[in-house]
């Protein structure tokens, strides 16, 4: 039997003046999975998150989260979901434990003290509980932000660009934490524009561009469907890159920019001479899919 959908969006539209941020969005997120919403800046990911919390009202379409109709029942839906924002909005002068206690109260947790202790353990901040947030490192603050969104043990977590702007070490710490949540059966909707993050954490990836889902599947399936098995990267002067692009495209292959190089996607299907001998061959990746589908350079 198919799992119940934690999130169901049908034909959702949201415009800001002349800009249509979400454009007929259809999205189902089954319970218990981590869905990575992958898209470039301005794709509509954050607006989708705000629609799910009732902080943005749709112009059209149907939204349901954890069985609650949105935006009518958004407050009840929010009681069962946790939100980890892109921007750090902790109270910096207040202690770690008071930051957590305030949100435990906002979420009507019956035993605030126990919830705070649990969240402190989750964020590994028990020793720093009486310190002001201002005194914490960037990584600790990020872990606290995540723990704050989990203080009421939500069934659904919305992670909006959870590791944007963080250094690799802190990002890895957070990934471990998110992975741990996923293994406990919590449903996660995670927006990101980091390919590695989506590959590492998401059971399924939905690629979003211009307010729509343009492709969705488990990462390996998406790669096989859109990028084939192999990609050949060519590093050369611009005139030679242009020539190689022309030859590859004439052979029916898709070519994308890759920083200073070009990448010939699906190079395993190339005919003789379509891929230069000195090209670097590697396994096709989700980055190839992302760039092909969105036309944007990946991060």
């Amino acid at each position: 039997m198919a799992a119940m959908a934690a999130i169901e969006l049908r034909g959702v539209v949201k415009s800001f003046g002349p800009i249509t941020a979400v454009d007929g969005l259809d999205l189902d997120v089954p319970e218990g999975i981590c869905l990575g919403l992958l898209g470039p800046n301005g794709a509509g990911k954050s607006t989708t998150m705000r629609l799910l919390t009732g902080q943005a009202l749709p112009d059209a379409g149907e939204l349901r989260a954890l069985g609650h109709e949105l935006p009518e029942d958004a407050k009840a839906a929010r009681a069962e979901m946790g939100v980890v924002p892109q921007l750090d909005n902790l109270d910096v002068d207040v202690t770690v434990e008071d930051n957590l206690a305030v949100f435990a109260r906002l979420y009507r947790v019956p035993n605030v003290g126990a919830a705070v202790d649990r969240a402190l353990d989750l964020a590994r901040l028990r020793e720093r509980r009486r310190d002001a947030v201002d005194e914490l490192s960037g990584g600790m603050r990020r872990r606290l932000l995540l723990a704050r969104g989990l203080v009421h043990e939500p069934r659904l977590i919305l992670l909006d660009e959870p590791t944007v702007g963080l250094d690799p070490q802190i990002r890895t710490q957070l990934w471990t934490l998110i992975d741990d949540l996923r293994s406990r059966g919590v449903t996660i909707l995670m927006s990101t524009h980091y390919i590695e993050e989506a590959e590492r954490l998401a059971d399924e990836v939905a690629v979003m561009a211009a307010g729509k889902i343009i492709s969705r599947g488990i990462p390996a399936e998406l790669i096989a469907e859109h990028a084939g098995r192999e990609t050949a990267e060519i590093y050369a002067p611009p005139d030679r890159l242009a020539e190689a692009r022309t030859i590859a495209e004439a052979d029916g292959l898709r070519v994308r920019p890759a920083g200073p190089a070009i990448a010939i996607v699906g190079s395993e299907r190339a005919g003789n001479g379509a891929v230069p001998e000195d090209a670097v061959r590697r396994a096709a990746s989700l980055e190839d899919v992302f760039v092909l589908l969105t036309g944007e350079e990946a991060e």
Binding site: L57, A76, R108, D121, V186
Partner: protein
Amino acid sequence: MSTGTVQARPQGKARLRRLEPAAIGGVMSRELANFRTYWRGTTFSSVLEPIVYLLAFGLGLSATLVDEVNGTPYVEYVGTGMVATAVIFSSALPAMFGTFVKHRFQNTYDAILAAPVDVEELVSAEMLWIGVRASVYGCVPLLVTIGFGLDPALGMLLTPFFCLATALGFAGFGVAMAATVAKIDQFNYVTALFVTPLFLVSGAFFPIDELPEGVQVVAQLNPLHQLVELVRGGAFGYDPIDAVRFAGLIAFALVMWRIAVRQMTKRLID
């Protein structure tokens, strides 16, 4: 890495009501947690200011220019009037600047509205917190004036309630302004056009019946003037009309509450 015990909880479905005490209490608990980090400075200035004003205006002026107003020693006249100035400066201004900073710079409201709290509860809690705080600070000048020789009276026990109603109204005004202006600099217009004139024609420092007739009419619509009259009523004896004054302040608070909720909803919900 984690030793936490977060689990997906079983499904529950409940429609939450409007204006839930738990939501309002939660938002106020956030204010209290922050207040604990800065209460010393705020309290120090709220106590020191009336003392300085009383020394400067009360003792200074009464020694040189004004001995009494309508039979009331000028120190006591100013001291009771200063309750109103303490209320407006500890309600309208913190509401304006605090709300603006929390919304635009700290993204605090995004965090709160991601929890089961709606804009109406958020605004109500902010107004209530500022109102309670301002009503406490509003009583300080009265206590200081007692120290300067004002006789305590039973009617003064109602002063915190008068202050609360007025402070709620000005807190709502401040929140609504914060939701309306585009930039923090625009508070200069609000202060110059509304806060300062209201403060000056409140009757705190001089009787408004000395003012031109047109200004007197406007002053009667000034909630601060009504508060000044009520506080003086508590100190020197109430008039029957004071019940109407108090009702007017409650109406002012209710109107400002609804305006603040409407403006903040427009600002916070896309």
